[in-house]
């Protein structure tokens, strides 16, 4: 995102500050443009409150994840998996559960009609991106608090405690990538009639590099007698993925919310 205002696009705070004294004076009145942090926190708080008040996304994601582990447990015909197979089962299941959350990320805004009022607020649209990505991140963490123990119970043979810190690091980096890409894809899909189709079709290919990085990082952790910490190389790949897609999302998100 550049500092200059392109036609029709909200400029950054820096560009606004340079837009002239009159505009700046107007902006300081009631309804002045706010920075991204305060509105992002307000939006995040609202999203979490709505999910707490009428739980939809998290229960659906948890139920999907646990059911899928049960299906793998019986479908694979074995009591335990390990190594790359275990990493694949865990991470693909979490990825597909994330698709459910991504699908619903903007639904409350559209269904309840409140989003037009949000778009009329003098806020940097980046705040909406930050809030939606943060909300999805919280949802994913809540799901994993149930999913990882369920996975260990149903599909792992040995104890997971030794590799748990490493697995948490891998999941944290994967979750950031899922949240960033998910917020962008959800904003894109909400403008279309085929939201349920667009989300997996767009998000899954974009998330393949993150899945590869996470699976390679997690496989040694889930191997019998394996490592207790993932290789730095794959953690770096995940970190770079998060950084690159975070910057891309920051750059394009304003355009996705415009008419």
């Amino acid at each position: 995102m550049t500092g200059a205002a392109t036609p029709g696009q909200p400029p950054t705070a820096g560009a606004r500050a340079g837009a002239g004294g009159a505009a700046a004076a107007r902006d300081r009145g009631p309804g002045r443009p706010a920075g991204a942090l305060r509105p992002a926190l307000a939006l995040l708080r609202k999203d979490l409150l709505l999910e707490r008040r009428a739980p939809e996304s998290v229960p659906a994601m948890v139920l999907f994840t646990c059911t899928t582990f049960v299906l793998f447990h019986f479908g694979l015909g074995r009591n335990a998996v390990e190594g790359s197979l275990a990493a694949g089962v865990l991470l693909v299941t979490l990825l597909l559960a994330a698709i459910l959350g991504i699908n619903r990320l903007f639904v409350a805004e559209q269904a309840e009609g409140g989003f037009d009022a949000v778009l009329l607020a003098p806020i940097d649209r980046t705040a909406v991106f930050v809030a939606k990505a943060a909300a999805l991140l919280v949802f994913l963490v809540l799901v994993e608090l149930v999913a990882v123990p369920a996975f260990a119970l149903l599909l792992l043979e040995g104890s997971i405690w030794r590799s748990l810190p490493g697995l948490v690091a891998v999941l944290a980096l994967l979750d950031v990538g899922l949240a960033v890409v998910g917020a962008v894809v959800s904003a894109l899909a909400i403008r279309t009639r085929a939201r349920d189709l667009i989300v997996p079709m767009v998000a899954l290919p974009l998330l393949v590099p993150a899945l590869i990085g996470a699976a390679r990082a997690a496989a040694p952790l889930l191997a019998t007698g394996g490592a207790s910490w993932p290789s730095a190389r794959w953690l770096l790949v995940l970190g770079l993925y998060d950084l690159v897609f975070g910057l891309l999302a920051y750059a394009v998100f304003d355009f996705l919310l415009e008419d």
Partner: protein, 228 residues
């Protein structure tokens, strides 16, 4: 020197795909004046409000709102417009107070303003109920509070008194009525009532201007003909 107009539209158009929702609409609204827009369903009234609110981009012509050309400087208009749309633009699972506090945070308005408005529309007793449990009339009162929360100089009101009984209409009158001192664009299906409130009247039919004149110069029958 005369104050610049609050709204200046010259040949504005807007399409939805192939369908022309607004075509060559021109009108100038002085600051502090009230424009009432008449027209049958599908005439383009709500589209016009959404263009003025920056929620839709005009596809042709020149649109200047509060001195800012749209869409080039639409960010400078946001936060200075209050929109009361057909939908309440509220989150149904949040209470009236939670909805208003949320919007207060977005607009940088102190939360005491929320309590002041809840008092003014006599909603304190139901302020903590989810808005999905409120009647349409009570919901409209909350929506009015949301629209004026940030004290905007321009109000865009889509049939603002629909669903309100006379007592409730009287409650919101100081907030959105002429006495509020704001520039107002109001859509109405009530020719006599609308003309009584208007400084200027605009009639739309099929997205085109069918009537445009100072309200004092218009016979109510001319407005009624729009619906014929």
């Amino acid at each position: 020197m005369d104050a610049p107009p609050a709204i200046e539209l010259r040949g504005v158009s807007r399409r939805y795909g192939e369908r022309l929702a607004l075509a060559d609409v021109s009108v100038t609204v002085p600051a502090g004046a009230t424009l009432v827009v008449f027209g049958p369903n599908g005439a383009g009234k709500s589209t016009l409000l959404r263009v003025l609110a920056t929620l839709l981009r005009p596809h042709g012509g020149a649109t200047v709102v509060l001195g800012e050309p749209l869409p080039a400087r639409q960010w400078a208009v946001r936060g200075r417009v209050g929109l009361l749309a057909h939908d309440a633009l509220l989150y149904r699972d949040l209470s009236a107070r939670e909805n208003l506090r949320f919007h207060a945070r977005l607009h940088g308005v102190p939360e005491r303003r929320v309590e002041e408005l809840l008092d003014r529309v006599e909603l304190r007793g139901r302020a903590d109920d989810p808005v999905r449990t409120l009647s349409r009339g009570l919901l409209q009162r909350v929506a009015v509070c949301r629209a004026v929360l940030h004290d905007p100089p321009l109000l865009l009101l889509d049939e603002p008194r629909a669903n309100l009984d006379p007592a409730a209409a009287a409650l919101i009158e100081p907030l959105i009525g002429r006495a509020s001192g704001r520039t107002r664009v109001i859509t109405s299906h009530d020719p006599a009532g609308g003309l009584a409130e208007a400084d200027l009247a605009l009639g739309l039919r099929g997205g085109r201007v069918a009537l445009r004149a100072p309200a004092a110069e218009i016979d109510v029958r001319a407005v009624e003909e729009l619906y014929a």
